[in-house]
């Protein structure tokens, strides 16, 4: 699809000309801008997701973007509205019905997810005008990002980050030790609701780029990688942002030159980083064990 448009671009190993070449297309510039915003916002939100062990909820909220987009198109609105409405709504449903114990929560999350995905399928079945079908919504595209979309992304991203900056400290406390935080008067439950809403907004943003199924990759993998590399909060947060950013931009570059979906490149690059981080950790463990002469307690504690 892209090859026909741009006349088979080739990678020349000259970074400057390559980027000049890529950025001569407005859609690529928009894609890189949007990618940068999305990477930063989802990495920061995702860092808390990983810390709070809410990956399943995050996946559900991101999957829900699909019926949102399909439903909005069916009703004649822009997909953007659908993304935001349904992602935030699903976050609120999960937040409202939480607290029934571990199994109940996961059964509930799973049901919400499956039902909404099924609704998305119904909407696409009803809406015959959807040209590319569900595949684009599910796996993402970077070809159609407009400048106005980039500004919406930036504004929403800035709001999400601002709110997170405000509640960051108590949220960190509540995530690491909810019981103690509750005892000290931190509103644990309210924070958790606010956080889920932020998660919904961030997901709705990212869905437009990577597709609803792969947002989750951008949220979880860089954060998980960073938390494997270091246990210090500020450092691992920074690392997560950098990793997500690198994965997105490298992915965009790769997707420009090869005719495969962007989502594939982004997830593969991010996952390769994760594997490298895990490899580094086990290497250090092995080295540490031999150096310490199999001392007990050599096991690294991961936050």
């Amino acid at each position: 699809m892209l090859l026909a448009e741009t006349g088979a671009p080739t990678w020349s190993w000259n970074l400057l000309t390559d980027f000049q070449d890529m950025w001569s297309y407005p859609f690529m510039v928009n894609a890189f801008r949007a990618g940068a915003v999305v990477a930063v916002v989802s990495a920061v939100v995702g860092w808390f997701v990983v810390l709070r062990r809410q990956t399943f909820a995050a996946h559900t909220v991101s999957a829900v973007a699909f019926p949102g987009a399909a439903g909005a198109l069916l009703l004649g609105f822009s997909a953007v509205y659908g993304y935001f409405t349904l992602c935030v709504a699903a976050a609120l449903v999960i937040a409202a019905l939480r607290g029934g114990g571990e199994h109940e929560e996961s059964a509930l999350t799973g049901t919400v997810q499956a039902f909404l995905l099924a609704s998305g399928f119904l909407f696409t079945a009803l809406y015959r005008g959807l040209l590319e079908g569900p595949q684009t919504i599910l796996f993402g595209t970077f070809l159609g990002i407009t400048s106005s979309q980039v500004s919406v992304l930036t504004v929403v991203g800035a709001v999400v980050l601002a709110v997170l900056a405000l509640i960051g400290r108590p949220l960190l406390f509540a995530s690491v030790d909810p019981q103690v935080a509750g005892g000290r008067g931190v509103p644990v439950r309210a924070l958790s609701v606010v956080f889920l809403v932020l998660l919904g907004a961030a997901t709705a943003e990212a869905s437009q780029i990577t597709g609803t199924l792969l947002v989750f990759a951008l949220m979880v993998i860089p954060a998980a990688t960073a938390q494997v590399l270091t246990a210090r909060p500020a450092l691992s947060l920074t690392l997560a942002v950098l990793l997500a950013f690198a994965a997105t931009w490298l992915g965009l570059t790769a997707a420009y030159y090869w005719p495969y979906p962007l989502g594939f490149f982004v997830t593969t690059i991010a996952f390769a980083g994760y594997l490298l981080a895990l490899g580094r950790r086990s290497l250090r463990e092995v080295l540490g064990r031999t150096r310490a002469g199999a001392a007990p307690g050599a096991k690294e504690v991961v936050a």
Binding site: S106, A107, G110, A114, F115, L117, L214, Q227
Partner: protein, 289 residues
């Protein structure tokens, strides 16, 4: 559902195949799903169902039978998840990272399949994602029903030790129950049923069949065996309701109708008061062996 209404769709072969395969698949999913919910492994089930998509797409891209990919990918991934986790219970973040990459890989294979192989089946990806129960042929319906029946039978056979190992792992291990082996076995069964159910409701939606009936059953009763049976029964009824509803309203895809029925039943259980108010205590399983 009245009898005359039910009699007419059953005269169509495609509906009969869907009914046969669907019933067995729903029963197996209900049984496996109960343990998934009880063991708080719903996320694992979710990941397995998404892996099914990649497996199917990889098989198509390499020109193999779709079902081969489904089963190979889900079972391999189930065992991998078991290995990654302590005592065959994988960690959320690890699952999330692995399976989101696998999904990306699925997107890759679907591109290969739709671009490089000059095929007319451009919607193969969609039918794997969302299922095509009305497209099941008679032979694959029989195979699906047999495999699902086998899975259901195995779950019932290991139900007792598995329940013990789930509810109180430490005591079970001390009593000589092979907790780890059961964990692996159960994950493999979950993988098989995920692969199986993908044909009926699709890899994105089968989580509903795993989670909703089990969640409803657990809300309705505290007694393990009753909940297990209830979960399977509800899954089958929801499958039937979905099939008939989608037959009555042709515009409605069957997968959606099944999910809608499952969600409605689960939502209804929230209106019913629990049998035992307050936080549920761990159910004691008779330990006589």
């Amino acid at each position: 559902m009245t009898v005359p209404l039910a009699a007419s769709p059953l005269s169509h072969p495609f509906f009969l195949h869907a009914f046969l395969a669907g019933t067995a698949i729903a029963a197996a999913c209900g049984l496996v799903g109960y343990f998934l919910v009880l063991r708080a492994q719903v996320f694992t089930g979710d990941a397995l169902s998404h892996v099914a998509f990649t497996g199917a797409m990889a098989a198509l891209a390499f020109g193999a039978d779709l079902r081969l990919g489904l089963f190979a990918a889900t079972i391999a991934m189930a065992l991998l998840f078991g290995t990654l986790g302590r005592k065959a219970r994988p960690d959320d973040v690890v699952i999330g990272s692995v399976f989101s990459w696998i999904l990306g890989l699925g997107a890759f294979f679907i591109t290969i399949y739709t671009t490089s192989r000059s095929t007319t089946n451009g919607t193969a990806g969609i039918s794997v994602l969302f299922g095509s129960i009305f497209g099941i042929s008679s032979s694959s319906a029989v195979v699906a029903a047999l495999v699902a029946a086998g899975v259901g039978l195995l779950v019932v056979l290991i139900a007792r030790p598995l329940l013990f190992a789930t509810l109180d792992e430490a005591v079970a291990a001390a009593r000589g129950v092979p907790v780890r082996l059961l964990g692996y076995g159960f994950l493999a069964l979950a993988g098989i049923s995920a692969a199986e159910a993908t044909q009926a409701v699709g890899s994105l939606l089968l989580l509903g069949l795993l989670a909703a009936p089990a969640g409803a059953a657990i809300r309705l009763t505290d007694r393990p065996y009753r909940a297990l049976a209830l979960s399977a029964g509800l899954a089958v009824l929801e499958m039937w309701a979905g099939l008939f509803a989608s037959y009555a309203v042709p515009k409605m895809p069957p997968s959606f109708a099944i999910m809608a029925a499952a969600t409605a039943v689960y939502a209804a259980t929230f209106l019913i008061r629990r049998p035992v108010p307050g936080p549920r205590t761990r159910t004691v399983v008779p330990t006589r062996t």
